[in-house]
């Protein structure tokens, strides 16, 4: 059981999907119950990962490895370190909650809808645990398909435009990424005479700086479009606005993290020289900062509630990428934590929109106002989600932002100074949104009679709020989990960082690999 734990986590949604296919399309309630059960099971089986994960071990845990296509050198090789662990947990939690929040929102083609979500779930987990580039690429592309359909079939009025834009943008990125992967693959063959997609093997390839830079930019396009970093972000607002609520929740909470994860897992460790190239780092940091400020400013002007939150993602993910390109432990650890935080906070904000959209079927901010009078419970939950997104201390966002900014400051003071303005603007657009939708008198008669949140709706938010408070008040376990993998990345990119005179740097003890579950 233990040695296949990760496979079980990976395949549980798929198993749920297989059973789902045999349920007749007409029995909608059964489909709903089953899909929720399957997603919940997916969450439950991922819990042992947390309890059995050994903090501080070098390398990967729960590894499983089997030959897949020997002639190509492709393997079924999965495993996880602290970064993967947190992202997988985010995926299983948000996946379940996204499926739960579709209960009443989706009425047609329920079977296909839930099938897409379960498929998506496996794809996303696969991306975060693959240790073989071929396998990774399969999962990476696999995620694209169900998301395309979720937007294109169950989306809003301009769903086709949005879905195709989403698909083409990401596909363009991933094709370039594939070119990068193949370059690495052939370079490795030239040097070692064997074909392999094994990431640990590819890491041994030495490449001249010039070539590393080309590969870096190829990867960059793939990942930057996914994040999305400025100026590759324009697919995101359209995709979010048209996607159904659960689609937006998953898109924001998990899918975008595939890009940042790609930087951390592939760009940095595989191309350390390019990653430390001053020009490249400068460009990426500046793009991140532009993303932070630009995203926030554009966000402020939106008239569409959902578009506003979509642009806020551009701003928040700017913090995540800035942390990565600070290339120091605080920046990177803060970035991963902030990725989790963004998943929780923005996931909640999209669910908040889902709640009102189900009642009023409009996302125009001007259609609302004074909702706090008619929906007091909703007002409280929205306020908490807003504050967690705005980075209020004792809620999750603050810890991540602070650590990132500390890392950015260590890298370059000017970066930090600009990035902090994003924190000011973050408060501005969220408070203004809250004021326009929730406060004041009810001016639109249609809003007078809408019901407050039901028990099921409140229940969806409670675990996320609890999680937000946990990270805000006691984030130490997260930093403990992240310390080792982050140290490995930093060591790889900046050899000697820990031994060189960085004050008070805690030197991570390399632990023997003997005890790793194999």
């Amino acid at each position: 059981m233990d040695q296949h734990l990760l496979s079980i986590v990976l395949l549980t949604p798929l198993a749920g999907l297989l059973v789902l296919l045999f349920i007749p399309s007409k029995s909608k309630d059964l489909i709903r119950i089953w899909a929720n059960l399957a997603a919940f099971a997916g969450f439950l089986v991922s819990l042992p990962l947390v309890s059995r994960f050994q903090v501080g071990l070098r390398g990967f845990q729960f590894e499983e490895r089997a030959n897949w296509i020997p002639s190509l050198g492709a393997h079924y090789h999965i495993g996880m370190d602290g970064i993967s662990l947190l992202l997988v947990m985010l995926t299983t939690v948000m996946g379940f909650i996204a499926i739960l929040c579709s209960w009443s929102a989706v009425q047609d083609r329920t079977k296909e809808y839930y099938a897409m979500f379960l498929l998506l779930q496996t794809g996303m987990i696969g991306v975060f645990v693959s240790l073989d580039f071929f396998l990774f690429y399969i999962f990476w592309e696999l995620v694209l398909v169900p998301m395309y359909f979720i937007i294109g079939v169950w989306g809003g009025p301009r769903k086709l435009y949005a879905a195709i834009k989403f698909f083409l943008y990401t596909l363009a990125g991933s094709v370039l990424m594939l070119l990068g992967i193949l370059t690495l693959y052939f370079q490795h063959f030239h040097q070692f005479g064997t074909y392999t997609f094994e990431i640990s093997e590819l890491m041994k390839t030495t490449m001249p700086l010039g070539l590393q830079q080309w590969v870096f930019w190829a990867f960059f396009l793939g990942f930057a479009i996914k994040v999305p970093m400025f100026p590759f972000h324009t697919w995101l607002p359209d995709a979010h606005v048209e996607a159904p609520t659960a689609g937006s929740v998953i898109l924001a909470a998990v899918l975008l993290k595939m890009g940042t994860y790609g930087f951390l897992r592939f760009s940095l460790p595989l191309l350390p020289k390019a990653s430390m190239d001053q020009t490249i780092v400068q460009i990426l940091a500046v793009l991140s900062i532009i993303g932070i400020i630009y995203g926030a400013l554009v966000c402020m002007m939106q008239k569409d509630w959902k578009k506003l939150i979509a642009y806020s993602s551009v701003s928040h993910l700017g913090f995540c990428t800035l942390g990565i390109f600070s290339m120091n432990p605080n920046g990177i650890a803060g970035s991963v934590l902030q990725q989790i935080n963004h998943g929780i906070s923005t996931g909640m904000l999209f669910m908040v929109i889902g709640v009102v959209y189900e009642r009023r079927h409009t996302r125009e901010i001007s259609e609302y106002g004074g909702l706090a009078h008619v929906m007091p419970k909703f007002a409280v939950i929205f306020a908490i989600a807003m504050l967690s997104s705005a980075g209020l201390p004792l809620l999750n966002g603050f810890v991540g932002e602070f650590t990132i900014l500390l890392g950015a400051f260590e890298a370059n003071r000017i970066w930090a100074a600009f990035a902090v303005t994003g924190v000011i603007l973050g408060a501005a657009y969220l408070l203004w949104l809250y004021q326009r939708t929730m406060l004041g008198q009810v001016t639109n008669g249609k809003n007078l009679l809408i019901p407050d949140m039901s028990f099921r709706e409140v229940a969806m938010f409670v675990p996320l709020i609890a999680w937000a408070i946990w990270i805000g008040v006691y984030p130490k376990p997260y930093f403990d989990i992240l310390r080792q993998p982050v140290a490995e990345i930093v060591e790889r990119v900046r050899p000697g960082y820990y031994s060189g005179g960085v004050q008070n740097a805690a030197i991570p003890r390399p632990v023997a690999r003997a005890g790793v579950a194999r």
Binding site: K165, L168, Y169, Q187, H190, H233, T234, Y294, L297, V298, M300, M301, Q302, N328, P329, N330, A333, G334, G370, A372, L387, L392, P393, L394, F398, V399, F402, T403, L405, L406, G407, F409, E410, R413, A416, V420, V423, I424, A427, A428, L431, W432, Q435, M438, L439, G440, Q441, V473, Y474, P475, K476, F479, L482, R483, V486, V502, Q503, N504, A505, A506
Partner: protein
Amino acid sequence: MQLWLIPILPLAGFVINGLVGRRFSRGLVSAIAIGSVVLSFAWVLKAIFGLGDLNSRYVEHYYTWIASGSVNIGVDFAVDRLTVVMLLVVTGIGLLIHIYSIGYMAHEGGYYRFFAYMNLFMFFMLVLVLASNFLLLFVGWEGVGLCSYLLIGFYFDKQFATNAGNKAFIVNRIGDFGFSLAMFLIFKNFGSLDFTKVFQHAPGASEAMLTTIGLLLLVGACGKSAQLPLYVWLPDAMAGPTPVSALIHAATMVTAGVYMVARSWPIFIHAPSAMNVVATVGIATAFFAATIGLVQNDIKKVFAYSTVSQLGYMFVGVGCGAFSAGIWHLMTHAFFKALLFLGAGSVIHALSGEQDLRNMGGLRKKIRWTFLTMMCAAVAIAGVPPFSGFYSKDAILLAAHEHAPWMYWVGVVTAGMTAFYVFRAMFLAFFGEYRGKEHPHESPPVMLAPLAILAVLSLVGGFLFNIPAFLSGVFPAREAVEDSSLMLISVGAGAIGILLAWFVYVAKPAMADSLASGFGWIYKTLYNKYFVDEIYDAAVVDPLVSGSRTVLWKGVDAGLIDGSVNGVGARAQDVGSLLRLLQSGNVRSYATWVLFGSVVAIVAMALAGIGSTGGLR
């Protein structure tokens, strides 16, 4: 000593009232809210008596909060004599204002919400003063800002209230920009954010570094404590219920900046130019705000600008190195300004919501207790000896004179204006003929009792609590300068202010209007607060909004980026429609293409073969 209980108790009150207070009776809600503050106050007293003379800091470590890389920040509380003063002010005044609120809020909706927010405020404020490192202080700092936002916007029906709430939060965030950068710089230089460590190593750092840190901290303090140029949120914050104005926007939260500067004295003391900036900002704010206070007609606005002005005095104190004088004024100001606001609340309550001084008058006979207690505050703030404000203001002005004589003289003029505007408000409200329509009624005892206690404190708080003596071990020693002529001058300025107010508003009431019209444009400028809000709007807010909308969103996002993306799409379609011509359905033409393609493929492979053997490496 279980210091954590001090803030946790109000937090418990917040959680209970916040979650289920809606279903409770008003009595139960206030019992929980006030009970939690009483317990907290009691625990403060117990802790103080249990900790002895507190000549050194007493620290409690609870758990490690953030530990990443070289960062290790704990949740630690500490108590020293400075904290003791702050704890007593916060819980003591906080308790009185909570009790007062029972009466004031009796007829308002959202009763449980109000008390929940107030308790949450107490929690964050106590975290702020107990914090033993900069980040934890920042937690309290942001938290009180949140509560301020929530309470300013308490009447969330009203657009101006919610606008004021947003403004307060955002302006504070601008200040936090400085505070955050200061923290990063402190961490970078000292490898820690812990007070003990940072202050231990501060003397070893370069003066330029300490000056930068000090100035950045000052930016934060200017936001929270409403100093130039970030004071603009505080006058608007009076949109909240009056007890909130008294507690948060007069007695406690707004003094956090002064506390923070005083707490960071080891940094400032080695950065004399930063201290000079602190003092200059303080004196400028004190003067500037006082001039605006001279002509306001809303009773709460008068006291709001007065608060800004008095906070300026505190900054002068700490900026001149007289840290204990600044804290002394912080305390006496908490007494008399809380009392002025609560008294104003009592007046407003008596007049069923009327706040305009022009619609008051002659109230001294109708609401006698309110009048008497407020008079105690008025003489205290005007610096009449031997009442509380006299002591602390005198200590600050003496230090200012030692620092730079011009600051003393500006301070004296400001003291005169202070006496004038406070007594102007008193005379307009309580003397002359009643000009309003409502029937005034005295407030209930539950409101008057806190007023009475604060009145006593305002009168005797100065000589009863000799803060400089109490804090002598905390701050660097200063030579005590006694200059009775300087003292007499400032007292004289206060007396002139009071007499002038008496003359203009009681003896010759017609004079006020003729003065206003005589100095038309000055009056207008002051009345409109130097048009600062309008200038900020035109210089910052509007360009930001329209720039974001037209340039960034419509221009860059929709125009440039999406335009080129869609352009690529359209070109791809063109190419596709050209390529479609190839797909003719003619077998012979397909065969030709296959042949052509094969040739190209073979050539390409040959070239690639050459490349892979020779080139790529």
